[in-house]
Structure formats: C-alpha cells, structure tokens
Symmetry: C2
Subunit: 298 residues, 2 copies
C-alpha cells in the first residue's frame, strides 16, 4: 500500500471546540508510526477558535468553491481556504489524500457521518465507518444555496458530526466520541487492507431533500418554535400531520408533505442565520463497489 | 396596598433567548389588570439580542455602577444602562419598585435565584419565591471583580437563572419554567398581602466565596477540562480531594481547600472570558424579618 496521508481538520467552525481538544489530546497520545497511514492535524479557523465565534467574515465550511474564482484576500475565510488547499491539498506542498473534518452540532444527532455528493471514494470511507460503528450517514446534495464545503476540495473526505453539545462548551463525553472515531480510522483501513473485514455491499444513507425555515413574522422575527414532540428527534421519521412547530398561542403547525421524511439538524443554533429550522432527508440504499474501495484503500 | 410596578427584563445577555420568548408569550396571554401590581417588560440589550451575541461592547449586566461615574456613550451597554435607569429606575419617567432580570446558564443549575448583596427587600422577594418553589438562592457578594449588576440599580431586585440550555437555543422546557415563575410572582405577592401565606423565618442561601479558573498554559490556553465527576453537579457539595479538572494525560486536579464547598456555574460557557471555571459557595442560614417583608409587599 502506498502511504496515505489523512488530514484531520478541527475548529473549521471556531465555536465547535470539542474536536480541537480531542485532536490535540490524540496527537499527544498516539505517536506510533504507521508506515501505511500518516495523520496530519490542522485547526481550520484558528482566529475564530481564539475568539469563540463560528467564523470571522464568512463560514469557512462554505468557502471552498470560492477559491476557484475568488481570491479576495480581504475575507479571512477565503484566505484561509486558499492556505489549506495550497498547503494540504492534493496538489499542495504537503499533499493529503483524504480530509476528515470534525464538527459538532447543537442538534441531538448523536455521532453521524456527513458526505457531500456521491463520490465513490467517499462512499468507501463512509462504508468503513458505518461497518465499524453503525453510524447514520447524511448525504448532502441538491442544495444550491449550500456549497463550498471543505472536504469537497480533497479527492476523498467526510465530515464527522457529533451532538448534541452547546457551542463553546467542553464536554468530555463528546471529546471521547471523537477520540474513538479518529483512533479507529487507521486500524480499520489496515484491517481492510489485510482482508480482516469486508465492507457491506449496501449502505443506508439519509439523502438531503431540502430544508425548512422557522415560521417568521414579516420583520423576520421567528414566531413559532420547534414543537416539543420534534425536539431531540433527529433521524426519526415523520409523516403528514405530525407537529413541526408551535406558536405563542399554542397553535401547532404540522408537516404537510405527502412523503415520510427523516428530519436532521433539528433546531441547530448555527443554522438560524441560514433560515434553516431543520433539514428533511429520505432513506435510501446505495451500493458500494468492493473492488473500487479495496483498490483505493489498499 | 400601593401600586407596585415590577420591571421584567429579558435579553440582558443577547444570546439568552428563552426569557425573551417567555416574556413575549406571557405579555400576550396575561392581559388581566391587577390594581396592586403592574408588570413592565423590556429587552435589556436589544441590539445584542438581534445579533445573537452576549453583548456589543461590554457585558450589560456589569455596566450599572459605571453609570454613576461614566457617561461614555460610545459604549453601547453604558448608554443602554443609562436609558434603563432614566426610563424605569426608581426616580425614572416610568418608575419601577422591583426589577426581575431573567437569565439562562449553560450550567446544569436548574431554576435558581441570584441575589447581589444582603438587601432586606431582596431577601423578602427571595423568600417569597423559595417558599413557593423551593428554589436554591445564590448570594453573590465579596467579589470586587464582578460588580455593576442590573438589579442593584433598583431598590429591590433578583435574577432568575435557569439552565442548562445552550446559548441561542430555544428550548420549550426552559421557556415553560420562566412562564411559571413570571406568572406566579403576582399571585404570591397578593397571597402574602391577604395573609394566605407566611414567609419562612429562615432562608437557606449559597453564599459566594470565590471563583476558580481552568488550569491554563502560559499562553493562556485552557489545558484541563472540568472533571466528568463534576459535570452537571452544580449545588452538590465537594470536599478536599474531590476531582475538579482532568488534563489531556488523564491527570486529575483535585479540590484542595479544607472546607466543604458547593460549586455553581460549573463550566458556564460565558464565564471562560472572565477566567471562571466554576464558583464556590457555602451554605448559610439567613433570618428574614416577617415584619419588614409584609411592610414592603403589602
């Protein structure tokens, strides 16, 4: 196997602090050399991390397509995206094959995998982690308003998303979950290489269908909350008539779609500014090619 | 009974959004006139609320002594403190007798009362609420670094502090807790007036002793976390040797004081910038004068 370099990014959002701690702790503890796989570590948005804010000028995790056409260095995150690609990109100074971007959410989603689009290598990596941990996979696609994600700038990459945890709040439980994922990645790739495990042929994914905003007044103020029956119920299916929101007078606003959907990122704090109260997904079975995956990893 | 005007302040910290929702909902639902008690409502820091940040220039809830000597209107919160006193202060345009300031915390403190110093009228109001709900009372005093609290600018005033809830996260459970407190205040004062209740003679309080910071590196970075045994254990006593922090290598830093203490605001996110990992309190019994309280409220 040729040497694979895996870039582990934490603090892409500066107020998601548990991954930064976990990576720091991991890098101090795990100094064993593996001739097959090398980890590189970087804080995505160090200035935002220092300030405890999500970003300085723009969301860094929406700034990676901009680098193709926008070299506006007055925007901190564009400058930072350029730096990360020039340094660790596939054609960079210290090139990495895979990017793992570690995030937290205030939604009660547990540990999950987020992938962007249907790249075959991403499916292989997702299959590896789903095989080991049974994690749900959220496939983000078909959303023209949400583009420019970090991992898309690498040939293969995934987001690990863990919640619920408040922004800027250190939670040992969340830190441990990150440590388990980072720590096992290399082992799992090695097991695959040594034919000790076989990836599942079919992968269950939750494919993004769209997002809905909170009900709002004309002035933009939110005037209904996530319904208590929906709180903390990420990944649980809902059907027509199930409550979504409740207003100040106690009136319920139900889900009106015809199809059963699986909501995620329910009430995510950072998405209020993006006019997203929750996103809707549908369950889907995707076939993964053994051959391609073994080729890629081994 | 002379008319008592009670000022209900929410959003003194702009990212504590549940009280703002609760007050808005309450003011729409409870339009009954009470000849004895009138509620006034105001958002403490509307600009910070709009931006979802704790404050703009300074912490508004540390800006109320500054008004005595500092009229620097370039600082938004000083200007706002002046406005609130000029409008609703005891000698203001629309004078209020009592200020209730509604806050949330990311610490797992449940619903509690915070009072500043040992003003007799504050003890009466605290006794009223403790009698009804059995809420713990945190008495903040003897801390020269932390001064200028909003309620100190009124003849009588308390903070209602509810957690745990993340900043900028709407939680119906937390909103309901605020609604219960606001809704019952007027009823309880009326009951006291009609001699339907008698205040307890003794009040259990948790008196502030000091605060401790996270262990830090020389560059100021936090290098140990709240110990898992301490997480969510606000109000629970600890004694010498009990774990406080744990560093990246798994080393525990214990509490080294001789006296048993009761920690509060454990891991409060907003206090990291104030170099506070938790505050220590001691349990104390305070006598409340029936006579003075009845005089004040009736």
């Amino acid at each position: 196997m040729s040497l694979k370099k895996i870039l582990i990014v934490s603090g892409t959002h500066g107020n998601e602090i548990n991954p930064v701690w976990a990576v720091n702790q991991f890098s101090k503890q795990k100094n064993t050399i593996d001739k097959n796989i090398e980890y590189k570590y970087i804080i995505g948005n160090p200035l935002a991390f220092e300030r405890g804010s999500r970003y300085i000028d723009n969301d860094l995790n929406r700034s990676f397509n901009a680098t193709k056409c926008n070299r506006d260095n007055s925007i901190y995150e564009i400058k930072r995206a350029n730096f990360l690609i020039e340094k660790f990109g596939f054609n960079g100074i210290d090139p990495c094959d895979i990017a793992i971007d570690l995030h937290t959410t205030t939604a009660n989603m547990g540990t999950s995998i987020v992938m962007y689009g249907r790249r075959v290598k991403d499916f292989c990596l997702a299959a590896l982690l789903q095989h080991k941990f049974g994690l749900p996979i959220y496939l983000h696609e078909k959303d023209l308003k949400q583009t420019g994600f970090l991992v898309e700038a690498w040939p293969c990459g995934l987001v690990i998303e863990i919640g619920s945890v408040a922004q800027n709040f250190y939670d040992p439980k969340i830190i441990n979950r990150f440590l388990i994922i980072i720590g096992s990645l290399r082992d799992e790739i090695n097991k695959l290489k040594n034919k000790q495990i076989k990836l599942p042929k079919d992968l269950v994914i939750y494919a993004h269908q769209g997002s809905i905003d909170y009900p709002r007044e004309k002035n933009g103020n939110i005037n209904a909350l996530i319904h208590p029956e929906r709180m903390n119920q990420d990944w649980r299916p809902i059907k027509k008539g199930d409550p979504l929101f409740v207003d100040m007078e106690g009136n319920t606003k139900p889900y009106t779609g015809e199809d059963t959907i699986w909501p995620v990122f329910i009430g995510e704090v950072a998405y209020k500014e993006k006019n997203i109260a929750m996103s809707f997904t549908k369950k889907e079975l995707v076939s993964v090619s053994d051959y391609v995956c073994e080729e890629f990893f081994t």
